[in-house]
């Protein structure tokens, strides 16, 4: 039987894994051997897209043509966007499903509106291709992980992305739960564990009880808008202050891309060192910026505190205290930050476990769940919960809960409705998800109408059944109690795609330039060429005083030759010329770096001298 793959569709990186006998294994990129696929997409002038590392590189050159963390927008409506989102990305102004607008540059600039599920489907298609190449068989079925705290709309959007990628999504598994499965702790004695999962864009915490192969989620909590990216943003803000960048420069998409990329490098460096110094190739010239670990930790303490508050709430919901927790698991690259580890250790009073690479553990767990679904793993079972309460709007705009958060799924609830006026022909039902008292403060999931046999007010009786499946996704059915007639319920999603939307998108499916291996090689080589040409031109313009005439001539000749080759289709020649230009311009680049450091030191001295 064809295998089922496990996919971690992450904010920053995505991975695919499969069961190999009784152990999960990551399927790396056959070309580079890298287990991670950056979750980036970038539009090319011809209307096709590239994903992964090439897209991430293009994002630096063409920030308006690229998107780095579309997962943040899955299942959202326009009204959920914040100022930072609008600053960083352009969104289509119309009323349809939320669409990002990417603008490819070039001779014939192109506008590409794309919904987040479509963008994610491009990443899934690349993972599917990767898996098919590694396994030498068609891959059509997958388990995909989602943040535990994803609501119904966000889950539906993820399932839609799978459908658009030609995958039958057998199950959506919560990321922290998947991590627990990967650790295989559940074969041991009964123990309560906490999974602390800080990813690129989302935070989750889950409390589980494991016994005899059964993993029972007791409670989950989190924040789908809090992740490693927010820590990067704080560092970028620090750089803007430190370098005293004018507001108009600091808010240009090109500068934001450079600042965030530098911030990410600094964050990684600070996991090892007490101070990080990075070069920032800003549009106005290369600058050197510095941040100490103490500065970083002070500026992000509130973010860590927010995650700890969620942990305490989850413990309370599970009816446990920190001392009941026998094991703490760290998931997500952002848990490499020493301050995060220290605070988690303080909260639970024990050293957290991170023996499996926190970047790959979720994908491994997704593969384990795929093994369970295929019937090949029979000694394990996962009992998960719904993360947010689900209910309906009742008289006066009140949110009436039908299913409480942390209820084990599948779960069902029934409610009877009646009419408020005589001869009503239908009742309107508004389904919501959230923890607040008023409907307007909860997330709207769907509206639907149920037809009823006419009668005096209060007499008709409609029984509506809400069923949450093992993916945490809601379906609704209705029955007229008097006539015992079942009604099919047409659920109109408040956010996200209708079946019609998806049908049309499947027909008009975007081209993934990388589907063709030769084309892919060429795009990668061209992206490299473009990167180095862009950097060289900028350096020449901004630092001409550091360049001798002979050197300038040599660099310009090599650049011209590379530019001509990049217009052709021989990717080997492009790569050779990239290497040559690189070699020729290295001494120049070194001098620029030295000069930037000198000037950074000088300005520091002035600061130190100043009273």
């Amino acid at each position: 039987m064809p295998r089922i793959v496990g996919i971690d569709l992450g904010t920053t990186n995505s991975l695919v894994a499969v069961m190999d006998g009784d152990r999960p294994r990551i399927l790396p990129d056959p070309a580079t051997g890298s287990p991670l696929l950056p979750s980036a997409i970038s539009a090319l002038p011809d209307g096709s897209f590239v994903v992964g590392e090439t897209a991430r590189r293009r994002a630096r050159l063409h920030p308006r043509a690229s998107a780095l963390s579309v997962k943040r927008f899955m299942g959202l409506g326009r009204e959920h966007l914040d100022a930072a989102d609008r600053e960083r990305y352009e969104f289509a102004p119309d009323d349809g499903p939320l669409r990002l607008v990417l603008r490819s540059s070039g001779d014939a600039p192109h506008v590409h509106p794309i919904t987040p599920p479509e963008a994610s489907s491009l990443i899934l298609r690349e993972l599917k291709r990767r898996a098919e190449q590694a396994l030498s068989e068609e891959v059509a079925r997958a388990v995909i992980t989602v943040p535990a705290y994803f609501n119904d709309s966000q889950r539906q959007a993820t399932r839609d992305a799978g459908r658009l990628a030609g995958l039958d999504v057998l199950r959506l598994v919560n990321e922290p739960t998947a991590a627990a499965l990967a650790y295989g702790l559940d074969k041991e004695e009964e123990v309560a564990i906490a999974v602390y999962d800080l990813g690129g864009g989302t935070f989750d915490v889950s409390i589980l009880r494991l016994r005899q192969g059964l993993s029972e989620v007791l409670a989950t909590g989190g924040d789908t808008r809090l992740g490693g990216d927010d820590f990067d943003r704080r560092i970028a803000e620090h750089f803007v202050r430190e370098l005293a960048l004018p507001a108009d420069e600091a808010s240009a998409p090109e500068a934001i891309a450079v600042l965030l990329e530098g911030a990410e490098r600094a964050k990684r460096a600070l996991s090892e060192a007490d101070v990080a110094t990075v070069d920032l190739a800003l549009p106005s010239g290369t600058r050197i910026a510095t941040i100490t670990r103490a500065q970083f930790e002070a500026s992000t303490a509130d973010l860590v505190a927010r995650t700890l508050a969620r942990c305490r709430q989850a413990l309370k919901d599970a009816g446990l205290t920190a001392s009941d927790i026998g094991q703490v698991i760290l998931v997500g690259g952002a848990t490499r930050m020493p301050a995060v580890r220290a605070r988690v250790r303080d909260l639970f009073g024990r050293e957290p476990l991170a023996s499996i690479d926190p970047d790959v553990v979720v994908a491994l767990g997704a593969a384990v769940q795929a093994g369970i679904l295929s019937g090949s793993t029979t000694d394990m079972l996962l009992l998960d919960v719904v993360p947010l309460s689900l209910g309906i709007e009742t008289m006066g705009g009140v949110f009436t809960r039908l299913i409480d958060r942390n209820t084990t799924i599948p779960a069902a609830a029934r409610e009877q409705f009646t009419t408020a006026v005589d001869d009503q022909t239908h009742v309107e039902v508004h389904v919501l998800q959230g923890e607040r008292e008023l409907a307007k403060d909860c997330r709207s999931l769907a509206h639907f109408r149920i037809p009823i046999a006419r009668g005096p007010a209060g007499i008709p009786r409609i029984e509506v059944t809400f069923l949450i499946d093992a993916n945490g996704i809601l379906s609704v059915s209705a029955r007229d109690v008097r006539t015992n007639v079942e009604h099919s319920v047409d659920v109109k999603p408040s956010y996200g795609l209708t079946d019609d939307n998806i049908e049309r998108m499947l027909e008009e499916s975007f081209d993934l330039a990388e589907d063709d291996f030769a084309a892919r090689q060429l795009i990668e080589a061209r992206t490299e060429a473009e990167s180095i040409l862009h950097a060289t031109e900028k350096a020449e313009r901004l630092h001409e005083q550091l360049l001798s005439d002979d050197e300038r001539r040599a660099i310009e000749d090599a650049s011209r030759e590379l530019r001509e080759a990049a217009a052709g289709t021989d990717h080997n020649r492009i790569r050779d010329l990239v290497d040559r230009l690189n070699t020729i311009s290295t001494p120049f680049a070194q001098r620029i770096m030295d000069a930037s450091i000198q000037s950074a030191l000088q300005s520091k001295r002035v600061e130190e001298i100043a009273p």
């Binding site: 199950r171 295929s374 209820t407 799924i409 779960a411």
Partner: protein
């Protein structure tokens, strides 16, 4: 109990998660009796270990993950069956929700007139309302000063709740009243026992709300 037919083989049977004839998973109605579906005797003094063991065993057999390779209908039935199993377990494992279920099963509802303060709690409620009102109108500095009082209040609410829960455990453990099997009966002892159960459950509902209000006042 109404008899139903197996969706696969058509065999007529009492409601159960598996067909007695062919063993196929049956998605039960939500009206199914929670004790019956879990294979437990109808006794509100549930043995928690036995309950958990039954739940895990049934989960392993009913859960949709175990029926992923089956036909579409069986997958749907397994989702519905597991939803009922989860509801049954969730209801019976918690003392207070089990008490409410038992009251309903005995033909009575807690009713919606729960806003009335139970007389036994009047003093505690009066004190709590006073302190909560002070806390809402207080300045941050005053709030810090009031903290010990709120914490003392939290302790007395918790203590009261522990007492009521112990009483509830006793009532459920000695059901049916007098051991004569007439739990739903109309003799004086059965009626008195149901009234006592109802009182305990309303007081516990009130205490739960109070506990939540005090906790949120302390968080602010």
């Amino acid at each position: 109990m109404a008899r139903i037919r197996c969706w696969r083989c058509g065999d007529e049977q009492a409601p159960a998660f598996f067909c007695g004839a062919c063993g196929t998973v049956q998605g039960l109605s939500h009206d199914a009796d929670y004790f019956a579906v879990l294979g437990l005797p109808p006794d509100p003094a549930v043995d928690e270990e036995a309950l958990a063991a039954r739940y895990y065993d049934l989960s392993r057999r009913l859960h949709p993950d175990r029926h992923q390779t089956a036909d579409a209908r069986e997958q749907v039935e397994s989702v519905r069956a597991t939803a009922v199993l989860n509801a049954a377990y969730q209801t019976l494992r918690d003392l207070e929700s089990r008490g409410r279920y038992w009251l309903r099963r005995s033909g009575e509802e807690l009713g919606r007139d729960n806003n009335r303060v139970p007389p036994e709690l009047a003093e505690l409620v009066f004190e709590a309302q006073e302190k909560l009102a002070e806390a809402t109108s207080a300045s941050p500095a005053q709030r810090a000063a009031q903290r010990p009082e709120l914490e003392a209040l939290q302790r007395s609410v918790a203590a009261e709740r522990t007492r009521e829960r112990a009483a509830l455990t006793d009532v459920l453990a000695s059901w049916p009243p007098g051991g004569n099997g007439a739990a739903n009966g109309h003799d004086d002892r059965a009626i008195a026992a149901r009234a006592r159960l109802k009182d305990l459950l309303s007081r516990l509902a009130y205490l739960r709300t109070l506990e939540r209000d005090v906790a949120s006042a302390l968080e602010e």
